[in-house]
Point group: C2
Chain length 328, copies 2
Amino acid sequence: MKTPKEPDLNSDDLLIALLKNAPGSHISGEEIARTLDMSRSAVWKKIKDLEEVGYEIQAVPHLGYRLTGLPERLVPEEIRFNLKTRALGRRIFIFPTTDSTNRVALDMGRKGAPHGQAILAETQTAGRGRLGRVWNSPAGKGIYLSVILRPKLELAEVSKLTLAAAVAVAETLEDAGIDGVRIKWPNDLLIGGKGRKICGILTEMVAEADRVECVILGIGINVNSAQVDLPPQATSLKLESGKDFDRNALTANLLSRLEVRLGQVTGAAWNKTRAAWNQRSAVKGKLIKVTTMNHSVQGIAQNIDPSGALIVKTKSGLKRVLSGDIVL
Amino acid sequence: MKTPKEPDLNSDDLLIALLKNAPGSHISGEEIARTLDMSRSAVWKKIKDLEEVGYEIQAVPHLGYRLTGLPERLVPEEIRFNLKTRALGRRIFIFPTTDSTNRVALDMGRKGAPHGQAILAETQTAGRGRLGRVWNSPAGKGIYLSVILRPKLELAEVSKLTLAAAVAVAETLEDAGIDGVRIKWPNDLLIGGKGRKICGILTEMVAEADRVECVILGIGINVNSAQVDLPPQATSLKLESGKDFDRNALTANLLSRLEVRLGQVTGAAWNKTRAAWNQRSAVKGKLIKVTTMNHSVQGIAQNIDPSGALIVKTKSGLKRVLSGDIVL
């Protein structure tokens, strides 16, 4: 992975940081103006801008401004505030609506967008899953994220990024207090005994026959969706916990978790990520049927092996499965 | 590969066929009008259209029309006339100029263009080779072709398409009377003892992590280029033979040869194509250094193995090389 330059913080990022870190929770317009090196009226204008995107800010005479609520909608500055990454999400484009964040990211990637650039949308009109399937994207209730990656990997190793991303999403959900997160090979995150789907991952790439140009990691998570927003076999963080979640904070943590795990797909670090995946396997020990392009394999699912292939114990011995669709 | 429907011949295709197959070489306007079920004046209009794209047609009173010359420029009807394919080139888009036929084809492929659709350009303003290198595209003197493929192959097998295409191009050049065609692994076609480059192949793809969506096979051939049009280490069919070539006929034969070889990348047929490749290897038995992403391998080049990897005999034994750049 390329090492990017340090993030460029703009004055909105700084103002948000000032409000969040204000001692005694109020900060005067004068102090903000001095710190950001701008006029009092420019500060007032910026406060209005923040209110516009959904920040709740109380203005108290003689005391100053106090942050009383965070935006519900996705806001780049709010995501960046909690971001612990060097590259992932340091550039973020958020669309109110788009056809598919993966489509946008693939176009941007082919035009040279840097490693780590992220695309989010409040809703997608043609969100896609693997094998051309539809992904439901109820407006304002999920995280529909695509990240542009420029990994130094062989073509055959790219599927490891999907597996690493699945681990990172599982960790993000666990950080949010969701129990029983399981990964259905290769790319679905399921919850609980009934195995209801909470997240899907679609990894796409543009490559020469022997060289990866860019990879688009697409992640869809059902966050605050109600059952009526989702297909019957799907669930959301809210349905599982009864709580609403701050999608900005969740996205920031997701990007942070992703950066760590995507950096652990080669060498000894890969064994760590692989172990974390195998630990959460939804299929291990179960009778499965995998349908691949030209044939199907039936047997008991084992771990994923160092190459990222799923090992299946069949009547005629162990088989490695590199692609395909699983039926339990 | 998908089996496409039979080609749709339009009235231009039929008129060209009539002119070419006319007994005694003249065909009357009346006979054309009857055969194509159109008026005499519509025939006259169509003849003018063909002249417009470069056909030379003699009109002799009382005898009718006679074809006396073929267009120099690339013309879909003229390519189709000689095409012996089911899918490749049955739909052709020819651009007077474009940035890169591979770029156009990749966009069309992602929007669902069918297997076999071909894009040609008289010149490219940003023609590309492997690893982001420049490909020179002098106007009207080469074949700059990109074909959209939807192969049923695993990701790791896509590089075999490049190898099969290299064999097809070699056969096309040999059909045109060019001797000593050699293939420099993985994608360059060289001529003669000095190994001057006559063709480059750039295979690109859009894929999910474990499933190929579409492959763009880009082929650039120096046909009628003079030395001044080309980099010093390059050559052309004209430079090698002293003759000018009909690019339409050459393109038709190339597409026909491609369809055969691209259909021979799996099973027993692959061994035939592989043998044809190995026979023409420019590197076999030579001391080479291959620079790959993370390291380099030095040794004596052997054959390509069934997976499409180049075998290199190094001091520490045989090594398989899947990607990289060769220095002799």
